[in-house]
Structures are given as C-alpha cells and as structure tokens.
C-alpha cells in the first residue's frame, strides 16, 4: 500500500513536469475508469471519449493545484464529471422545457420490448443503455444525485437549474429506470 502511494506520487510528479511517459502511464491507469464515468454522463460513446480527452487535458493542466487533500482518484473524478457537464452545456441548454409530458415514459418503455426483459442484476452496459433513453438533463441529475450523492441544491447550482427542477427530474428519471430495470415479478 505504501509503495502504491509512492508510485502515484512519482507519477504525478512526472506529469507535473510535463513528462509524456508519466502522462501516458496516468492515462493508462485511470483512463478506463474515467471513461466509464464519462459514459454514464454522456449520451453516446463518442461524447464520452470527447469528455475523456477534455478531462485529461484539464487534469494535466491543473495538476499543480492538486494538494493531496483528497484522494487523487476522487479529485480526478470531479474533474471528469464537470467536464461531462460542461460538454453537455455546450450542446444543450438545460431548461424545464425539457420535461416530457406525463405518460411519455410509459409509452417509450412499452414500445421497447428488449427493455422489458431487463432487470437486476443487469450489466453496466444494460444500465447505460437504459440511461441512454433518458433525456440528457434527467440523466445528469440522476447520476449526480443517485450515484455521486450530490445534494439537489448543489446539482441545481452545477447545472444552472432550480432546486425544484432537479428534484422533479430526478423523480421522473428514477421512476423511468425502475420501470425498465426492475422486473415485473419483483415489482408486483
């Protein structure tokens, strides 16, 4: 364990000095996990890889500011989440007009026969496929609140929406995912 810490410190030191080999090593070590995080937040794999690249550029550029107050992976994860959000903001503007009409989810779910057969335990890929059907704003809110434990107040601040919007989008996203991912026999 001690060796591991020393290892990451030397790796970060090399990255701070602009050493390409160290940067490559950091990318190889943390890239897959960060791409998984990006994939949860982005609507498609291409956007996720864009976010991955943008995120690593930010990491390398701001590595000097990392003081070791939190675990490096935690610090890095925050950067990638923010990058994914920024990427989304560039493409879309989050607003309440994005809220779908009541009943729309049900129609979407019932029209997808594959999804009907999902249920826990499911693979991450299946879960992401279910998330892909969510509006992007809902998806962000759900990820931030359910998986990253951000408070609605913070989410509202990050996404530039109201706290109420965050709550309502989260509730709708959760209902949608439950309908898709929880098998009917368990639900009933």
């Amino acid at each position: 364990m001690e060796k591991r810490v020393d290892d990451i410190q030397s790796l970060l030191s090399g990255c701070r000095q602009g050493d390409r080999r160290a940067q490559h090593e950091l990318f190889s070590r943390f890239g897959p996990k960060m791409l998984g995080i990006c994939r949860r937040y982005c609507a498609n794999p291409d956007d996720a890889r864009d976010a991955l690249q943008e995120g690593f550029i930010k990491v390398f550029a701001t590595l000097e500011k990392y003081r070791g107050e939190s675990a490096f992976e935690t610090w890095m994860t925050r950067i990638f989440i923010n990058t994914a959000i920024d990427l989304y903001k560039k493409k879309n503007k989050i607003s309440q007009t994005e809220l779908p009409l009541p009943g729309q989810y049900e129609a979407d779910v019932s029209s997808d026969t594959d999804v009907d057969n999902w249920g826990f335990p499911c693979s991450p890929e299946e879960a992401i496929k279910a998330m892909d059907q969510l509006p992007q704003g809902y998806r962000l809110v759900f990820n931030l609140h359910a998986l990253e434990n951000y408070a609605h107040k913070d989410i509202a601040s990050m996404l530039g929406i109201s706290e109420g919007t965050s709550k309502s989008q989260y509730a709708r996203a959760r209902r949608f995912l439950q309908q898709i991912l929880i098998p009917k026999n368990i639900t009933s």
Binding site: R40, F56, L147
Partner: protein
C-alpha cells in the same frame, strides 16, 4: 414507496461499482496531439544557469589574470633584498616563458628556519603551516623549479606536502610568516527554491579554508545577476557575501544586477567589513528600482575550521538596521580523498544548527519621480524584514517605517567540494532551512531549501 423504489440507487451503484470502459492507444494518441508540447523549460533554465559559471570558470582557466605578474614582482624583489643583492627592476617584471610556477611552504620562522637546507626535497609535513604560490626564480639556479605539490593549510586535510620544495625560497618565506590571504576569484551560483538564482563573481582576498594566520585587509567585490521570482525574499540567510540587502527585499519578480565592493579588516578570528554597493532591480511592467546598499559594517568569523564548533555573535550595521544573531553553531566533518596528487577530492558532510534572534529597526525611504514617458521609480531602501511594503509615493515624500524582527531557524546542510588542482576548487552545498519569525503579525513561518555551486579560482 416500495422496496425496489428505495433501492434503485443502491442497485445502480452496485452495478457501476468499478465500471470501466476500455481505452485504446488511439485515444492516447488523440489526447497527446491535443496536449501542449512537452515542457522543457525547467531543463533549459537549469542548463542556462549551470552553463554560466562553467563558462566563466573556463574563461578564467584559460586566461589567467595579469595579477600574477605583479605578485611575482614583489616576491622576487623581497627575496633579492633579503639576500643582500641589488636587483634590476626589469628582471623582476618578467614572467617565466611558460608555466614555471611552483609552490613553497610558508612556515613560522622560529620553527621552520632550521629546515632551510641548501637543496633537496622535503617530505616532512608541517602542522599549522601554509603554502603560498609564487613564480620560480629562474635566475637563482638557472633552471625552472620542478612542479610542486600544493596543498592549502593543514587543517583542511587535503594532504601533506610532497615533491620538491625550493628551499631557498622557503627559508625566505619563513621570515615573513604572516602573509595576507591569497587572492582568488570566486564564482558562486546560488539556487534556492523560495529565493532566487544568483550568479556572483568576485575577486577576493580573504582566508581560505583552515587558514588561521590570515592578516591584512581584504578587498572584495561582487558583480552579480539575480533573478527574483518569489515574495520570500525577505528571508535573508547569513553567509560571507556582502551586498546582500536585496535578498531581503519583498519583491515578486524581477531581474537584478548588483555590484558591490568593500574592505574587510581582520579582527581576531572575525573581521569588520565596510562596503558600498548598488543594485538595480529591473522589474517588469516598466518599473526600475535602484537600491543602494550602503555602509555595511559586518562582523563575520572565519568559521572554516573543519570539525570546529564555533559560537559567535556577528553584529551588522547597515544604515539603520541592527541585525544581531545571538547564537550560531556549526559542526562539520571533512573527509579527504585523493585519487592522485593532482586531483584530490574532498567531501564535506555537515550539520548546521542555527538558533538566532534578530532584532531590527528599519527605515526605508523612497522617492518617486513620475515621468511622462515611463514610470521610473527610484527607491532608496534599506530593508531587512518582512512587511516592508513599498508603494509609490508622491514626489518628495519620504516614508519611514520601523520594524522589529526576531527569527529562529534551523538549518541542515551538506556539501562537498572537489579541488581539481591547485588552482580550481568547486564547492557544492545543499541546505534546508526552516524558521519562524514570531514578531510578525501572523507569525511568519518559512521553509526553504537551496543549493550552492561555487567555483573558486585562486592564485
């Protein structure tokens, strides 16, 4: 709310726990193209700063100063007078045709006169003795003296004396044992993380390591360039260099050229130093600062005795600054090595422990003369501590501030030096200093580390 509704977050967390997606080499290549080019600036800076002292050292190695000519003149003249001979002034000004240089041991007359024999060699090592270089007198025996092994004074443990000694010269030198310190050029490259990189070249006459019998005044000069990059410049360390007022300035960034000169008068194991210097700070953003370092009266000890522990109280008067270090101790261990006679090597391992208190009263003055074209500021500042805020003042306004300061710090250091040959010595030093200034508002703490690379050319 049903159980599964409550647990959807938990179930998804479990699903995504450790979730990864594969990245490919193409992803890295794409990222690499987007990254800024590899930063070689730090390497360039190191190479740049290191190349300067090396270049100057080589230059001095190749072009020996003419001072040797005058030096040999006085020696030969006195030698001839000692032997009751009249000399032709034109003879004493002549340098040997080539490198006819020898080194002879200088010993106190009462003890060493008996060793002056007619001719031959001497292998005997003499304690508390010193060697002085001079040019071989060709007219004495018609042939140039053979190359002599050289060593500095006995305490630096660089080895004893071997090889032939010009005995007649040695006898003569024995009559004037109290020679002043030898002249040498010294090039110092200082680097400190929180301070500055500094290159200093100086021509000094002062004691060398272990030279206890130093007498006579010394004249020193510093011409150097500093690059300032930190606000921690108010932390001044103590060393033998003068003209250090600028190292206490609270400056953010800038380029300094400085020149200073002075005289040192030995006083027991210490010396009093009086100097006059001027430094110009070329700050970015169109501001130029000129700082005069005036009347530095400084008492420093010769603490070059290996293995000695010295406690000393230097007192400095620099304008209105009173700077008293109450206690200082230093313990060093010098381990000599020698590959052969011409290339000895000596490593120094030292532990410096320093507890000091500094009480200062500062008055700073500045005058700002606005220019319609450029914003020039002339500042006459004698700063010495933290919190010497300098702001532009209207024309003619003099701003004076008084400060108190105390400091306590601990310094650890190690170093080594290599005496490549009898002329050139390279010294290195690395130090780590931690300190506290309890009199500042927030109890200023500082940590710094630095290194020193010193080239010394002596004759």
């Amino acid at each position: 709310m049903s159980q599964e509704h409550k647990d959807i977050e938990h179930l998804l967390r479990e699903t995504f726990k450790g979730y990864q997606e594969p990245v490919f080499e193409s992803d890295w290549e794409q990222l690499e193209r987007a990254l800024p080019r590899e930063n070689h600036r730090h390497r360039f800076l190191w190479a740049f700063w290191l190349s300067l002292p090396v270049a100057v050292g080589i230059a001095f190695w190749l072009f020996q100063p003419n001072a040797i000519v005058q030096y040999s003149k006085s020696v030969e003249k006195t030698l001839s007078q000692a032997q009751g001979k009249e000399i032709n002034p034109s003879d004493v000004n002549q340098m040997p045709a080539d490198d006819g240089i020898s080194y002879e041991k200088i010993t106190p007359p009462s003890r060493n006169r008996s060793q002056a024999t007619a001719s031959g060699t001497s292998e005997k090592r003499l304690e508390k003795s010193a060697y002085r270089r001079t040019d071989v007198v060709q007219s004495r025996n018609g042939s140039k003296g053979e190359s002599q092994n050289w060593s500095s004074a006995g305490n630096n443990s660089l080895g004893g004396s071997t090889g032939q000694i010009n005995n007649e010269l040695r006898e003569f030198k024995g009559e004037i044992p109290n020679l002043s310190g030898r002249s040498f050029h010294q090039i110092v490259f200082n680097y400190s993380r929180s301070k500055a990189a500094k290159l200093v070249f100086g021509n000094y006459r002062r004691a060398l390591d272990g030279w206890r019998h130093f007498r006579g005044p010394e004249v020193w000069m510093i011409a150097g360039v500093q690059f300032l990059s930190s606000a921690a410049m108010n932390v001044a360390d103590k060393d033998e260099w003068k003209g250090k007022g600028l190292s206490r300035s609270r400056l953010q960034q800038g380029l300094i050229r400085e020149i200073a000169a002075g005289i040192s008068i030995p006083f027991g194991l210490s010396s009093l130093q009086v100097g006059l210097g001027e430094s110009q700070i070329l700050k970015p953003m169109r501001q130029h600062w000129t700082v005069k370092t005036r009347m530095v009266i400084d008492s420093i000890p010769y603490r070059n005795m290996p293995g000695d522990t010295l406690f000393w109280i230097p007192v400095r008067f620099a304008d209105t600054l009173v700077d008293v270090v109450t206690e200082f101790s230093e313990k060093r261990l010098i381990i000599p090595f020698r590959f052969n006679q011409n290339f000895p090597i000596c490593a120094k391992f030292g532990l410096n422990f320093q507890v000091g208190g500094q009480l200062g009263i500062l008055q700073s003055m500045k005058a700002t003369i606005p220019s319609p074209y450029t914003d020039y500021t002339w500042s006459q500042v004698r700063s010495g501590m933290a919190g010497t805020a300098q702001t532009n003042a209207p024309v003619g306004l003099v701003d004076a501030k008084n400060h108190l300061r105390s400091r306590i710090d601990v310094q650890l250091g190690t170093g080594a030096y290599w005496r490549f040959n009898r002329n050139l010595t390279v010294k290195t030093n690395v130090m780590r200093t931690s300190g506290l200034n309890p009199l500042t508002r927030n109890g200023e703490k500082y940590h710094q580390w630095g290194g020193q690379l010193m080239f010394m050319y002596q004759w």
